[in-house]
């Protein structure tokens, strides 16, 4: 027998000595210290909101949330949520809606990510930026753009489609229907999904795919059997995250769904928790958060088992790692058409509507006479005041600080999650995921309470929003960094260790640079998500911390559609600039 020298371990050799086991004190390396600090930080950030969630869901909040005894304990919220048959009837449509949107989002994101990161697609960087760009248009505005374009009565596209046939009546496309909801929601998930995937795709070792090719498999087999499975940590991480995103997403179901008679869980909850006048029913939101948390726990534990075998996905190795660009050849034109077609649909069209709205004193019926009304007055008005400049500065501080803080923390946490052999690492991952399942109001409230109690004077400043935002998006960051670190073969860290490098230096010189694409993608994600987020700035708002998103909302609330459009254009511009700058720094191939 060939490998006889490696005889099977059983039966054990007779002379075998029983193996003693000893427990020793490990001297903490500085990487462990960094990890420990990260865990403390995440506990600090997440414990409050989590406590608040429990508190909210188990009390009667009709007179506002009580945060000190005596508590009005009550199970009524659970009765309201789970005793309502509407909850259950909405679950099915929610599942269809979520599954559909996720399918759209992942199909588009994976395809585009692969094209951008692995092939010689022309103008890759522009495609990257423009795929991410729609996230710069506020969701509400985006959904409204879609209804302007596609509503069955006088949507622009419908009108144009009807024109050649002289057809009358509504249609042919009805944006107020489940398929369109799915499509629009799917498109709105693309930017984040795309960012969650691209960095990992970059780290797939080409020789693993080459081996499959030499084994006789064609392109699609390689993608299905090699590339995607290797991306499992990134894909499943993104999937769990985006599932929760889509279940809690409100804008599309609210703007498109209700008119079409499609009601999902999030609209159900929205309606239930926003009574006519009076305070929102925080209790119901909290209960819903508890439910979501419970639901996402199962896939999270599953995910952690995958990460537990992270070496199965380590594709960035210290041995002939060849990042390789695949030549598209005759597929180049279809690929270009696909990417730019999608960009036209997801970004250019809504952006044109937005621009149009920003140059109109009010948004009236489509028509030639509207051309006469074109004006730049909206720009002068919305961008003129000192308030706008304040908001711009605050937005910038918010985006950069939250993204930086969130990503640094996420990287350290993910290192613990991936590399630690402790049983509790799954707990750390769950802790890091928790904020995503929490309703924004819960995070807002707990942050508010915390900084009213603690002697840290950030109440009323932009920093309280930064902290809340970092809390909210730590889960987004860890989805990305966990997959990113799992891709790096542990040997690269070990080689640094045997070269005398301590934890700080390993981070600085080895992990950091190797994780650069991941870090920049994550930075961009949190940056974009934070400057878009409306709930937290509104809740924690004061005179001194107005940001662009609240400004847009106020303009809108005040009935100033033009102003809102102008500010949204500004937001989209910031997004494009930020994405371009960050892409510049990672754009070159290789690691």
């Amino acid at each position: 027998m060939a490998a006889g020298t490696q005889a099977p371990p059983s039966p054990p050799p007779p002379a075998s000595t029983p193996m003693p086991r000893v427990r020793r004190r490990r001297r903490f390396g500085s990487r462990t210290v960094i990890g420990g600090l990260a865990i403390l930080a995440v506990i600090y950030l997440v414990a409050g909101p989590l406590l608040m969630l429990v508190l909210t869901s188990f009390q009667d909040t009709s007179l506002g949330l009580v945060i000190r005894p005596p508590f009005p304990w009550s199970l009524q919220n659970y009765v309201d949520v789970f005793g309502d048959s509407g909850t259950y009837s909405a679950i099915l449509s929610t599942l269809i809606f979520s599954a559909g949107s996720l399918l759209v989002a992942f199909a588009v994101s994976i395809t585009c990510a692969w094209l951008v990161e692995r092939t010689d697609l022309p103008a890759r960087n522009a495609v990257f930026v423009l795929l991410v760009a729609p996230s710069g248009i506020p969701a509400l505005i985006l959904a409204i753009s879609w209804s302007l374009l596609l509503n069955p009565n006088n949507g622009l596209i419908n009108t144009l489609l009807r024109l050649p046939f002289g057809a009358e009546g509504p249609g042919p496309l009805d944006v107020y229907s489940l398929p369109w909801m799915i499509l629009v929601q799917g498109m709105s998930l693309v930017p984040m999904t795309f960012l969650l995937i691209t960095a990992s795709l970059r780290g797939v070792n080409a020789s693993l795919e080459e081996a499959a090719r030499a084994s006789g498999s064609g392109f699609s087999t390689i993608v299905r059997r090699i590339t995607l499975p290797l991306l499992r940590p990134a894909l499943i991480g993104a999937l769990i995250y985006q599932f929760v995103t889509v279940v809690t997403a409100l804008d599309v179901p609210l703007v498109l769904g209700l008119s079409g008679g499609v009601s999902v869980l999030s609209t159900e909850i929205y309606v239930a928790s926003n009574p006519v006048g009076g305070l929102p029913n925080y209790g119901v939101s909290g209960t819903y958060g508890m439910f979501l948390l419970a639901v996402s726990l199962i896939p999270l534990l599953f995910y952690n088992r995958i990460i537990g075998r992270s070496q199965d996905y380590a594709t960035i190795t210290g041995k002939t790692f060849r990042p390789k660009t695949i030549a598209l050849k005759r597929w180049k034109i279809p690929a270009v058409l696909f990417c730019w077609g999608y960009i036209a649909l997801s970004f250019v069209l809504p952006m044109l509507v937005l621009l149009w709205a920003s140059f109109q004193p009010y948004l009236g019926v489509w028509g030639l006479d509207a051309l006469d009304r074109l004006t730049t007055a909206g720009y002068g008005e919305a961008l003129g005041g000192a308030q706008f400049l304040d908001a711009l500065r605050n937005t910038f501080v918010l985006g950069v600080a939250a993204a930086l803080g969130g990503m640094v923390l996420a990287m350290a946490l993910s290192w613990v999650i991936v590399r630690s052999r402790s049983r509790y690492r799954a707990l750390v991952d769950i802790l890091a995921f928790v904020p995503h399942a929490l309703p924004g109001v819960v995070i807002g409230l707990s942050t508010l309470v915390l900084y009213l109690i603690l002697p840290i004077p950030i109440y009323g400043t932009i920093w309280i929003i930064v902290v809340a935002m970092a809390t909210q998006y730590i889960s987004l960051g860890t989805r990305l960094t966990t997959a990113g670190i799992a891709q790096i073969q542990v040997g690269l860290e070990e080689a640094a260790e045997t070269s005398g490098a301590g934890g700080r230096q390993i981070w600085q010189r080895v992990l950091g640079p190797l994780l650069r694409p991941v870090f920049l993608n994550g930075f961009l994600m949190i940056f974009l998500a934070s400057i878009q987020n409306l709930t937290l700035p509104l809740m924690l708002g004061s005179n001194d911390n107005v940001v662009l998103s609240t400004l847009i909302w106020r303009r809108w609330d005040y009935g100033d559609v033009t102003g809102a459009a102008v500010l949204s254009v500004t937001m989209a511009t910031i997004t494009v600039i930020a994405a371009t700058l960050l892409r510049r720094t990672t754009g070159t191939r290789g690691l």
Binding site: A3, Q6, E210, A211, A214, P229, D312
Partner: protein, 381 residues
């Protein structure tokens, strides 16, 4: 017609604007069922040549034919997965997300013409061949380096390819296993009649397994021939020194005897008589290659011809022999002494080399002067 035909193959990598010419006009034919070896130093372009044959690199120019089908030609390029090949990668490239069995089953599953049971059976056969049965269910990442390489070999063989491409498939195996695999691979190759291109930098592997060896240097084939030709009649200093250790002596031809086909030389180490077919010009300078194992070492020697007197510098025990360095005049000779010999440092010894073992190296037009210089440098180190 050969099973593999490579013609005027060029391949250049782009190294940040600068062009690295990894393969530089390589042509060769491999007969049906032959075992063809590319042998050469690190970085000489062996892997690149193999990757071009596999279709993993698109050559800058050149033509390649596999099993009668032009896979790289002016008319187009056949993609890798359509070529009838099996390949073992230098870095194994086992799929970390699959178990051992899944890795091996992959090529069969992709082909899709076998039932699950048949696949199972073939996988077990291939694994058994590599002595890997007990790891069937282990994850590929939990294997040691050598085990991964055997897995990679099993994967390449499992689908009975027409052409087998091996990129140093034995380099991570232990000596024992390597020797065994060497024999087995060769037998297997004969049995399943698969034309094989084998890349290695190990001369013993190359010599013992190949039907034909092509020695490569700096992207070119510098000599092609049977193992014995390559070893016994190297056409250049480079080949002589690469394929086994060699001592070089430069000397001036004093006379040539047509009857015995012997050249008489004066060298710094003393007079030498060499057997050679090609009469060198009298008075010209030539190089003579002498293998360490051709030199007999002793305190004295009964013969009178081709005796070199020197002093032992060092003796390294290498198991089946002792590897001596003996200083003769200004030059240090490598000498393979018998296993049990115990010459000590500073001992005065006599080396004897039969005239048959003195190989006169012809001027090699193919290798540019620069390369020779480099090799010489290396040798002098």
């Amino acid at each position: 017609m050969g099973a593999i035909r490579v013609e005027h193959l060029f391949h250049a990598y782009d190294d940040g604007g600068r062009e690295v010419r990894a393969v530089d006009d390589v042509s060769f034919d491999v007969e049906q069922n032959a075992f063809y070896t590319l042998l050469g130093p690190s970085g000489c372009g062996k892997t690149t040549t193999l990757r071009c044959i596999a279709g993993l690199e698109e050559p800058t120019s050149g033509e390649i034919e596999l099993d009668g089908v032009a896979v790289v030609s002016a008319r187009g390029i056949v993609p890798t997965n359509k070529r009838p090949i099996g390949m073992v990668f230098q870095d194994y490239a086992v799929w970390p997300h699959m178990t051992v069995a899944e890795n091996v089953a992959f090529p069969l599953k992709v082909a899709g013409d076998l039932s699950g049971r048949e696949i199972q059976a073939k996988v077990m056969d291939a694994l058994a061949l590599m002595g890997m049965e007990q790891f069937v269910q282990r994850r590929a990442t939990q294997l040691s380096g050598g085990q991964q390489q055997r897995l990679s070999l099993a994967r390449a063989l499992v689908r009975d390819p027409k052409v087998l491409l091996l990129d140093e498939p034995l380099s991570n195996l232990d000596a024992k296993l390597r020797e065994q695999m060497r024999a087995e691979l060769r037998q297997l190759q004969r049995r399943i009649k698969v034309t094989t291109v084998f890349v290695t930098h190990d001369q013993v592997e190359a010599l013992s397994m190949s039907t034909t060896i092509a020695v490569m240097n700096q992207g070119r084939i510098v000599q092609e021939g049977s193992p014995r030709e390559i070893y016994l009649q190297p056409n250049s200093r480079f080949v002589a020194s690469f394929v086994g250790a060699t001592n070089f002596v430069t000397g001036v031809v004093d006379a040539y005897d047509d009857d015995t086909r012997s050249a008489y030389l004066s060298t710094p180490a003393g007079p030498l008589c060499c057997r050679t077919e090609h009469a060198p010009e009298v008075g010209s300078a030539v190089t003579v290659a002498i293998r360490p194992e051709a030199l007999e070492i002793g305190y004295e020697h009964p013969g009178r011809e081709n005796l070199l007197e020197g002093r032992v510098q060092v003796g390294l025990f290498v198991g089946d022999a002792v590897d001596y360095r003996v200083r003769v005049g200004d030059q240090v000779f490598r000498v393979t002494g018998p296993q049990r010999s115990r010459f000590h440092r500073k001992d005065a010894v006599v080396l004897h080399v039969p005239a048959d073992e003195c190989v006169v190296i012809p001027d090699d037009p193919e290798v540019p002067a620069g390369v020779q210089a480099t090799v010489q440098d290396q040798g002098a180190r």
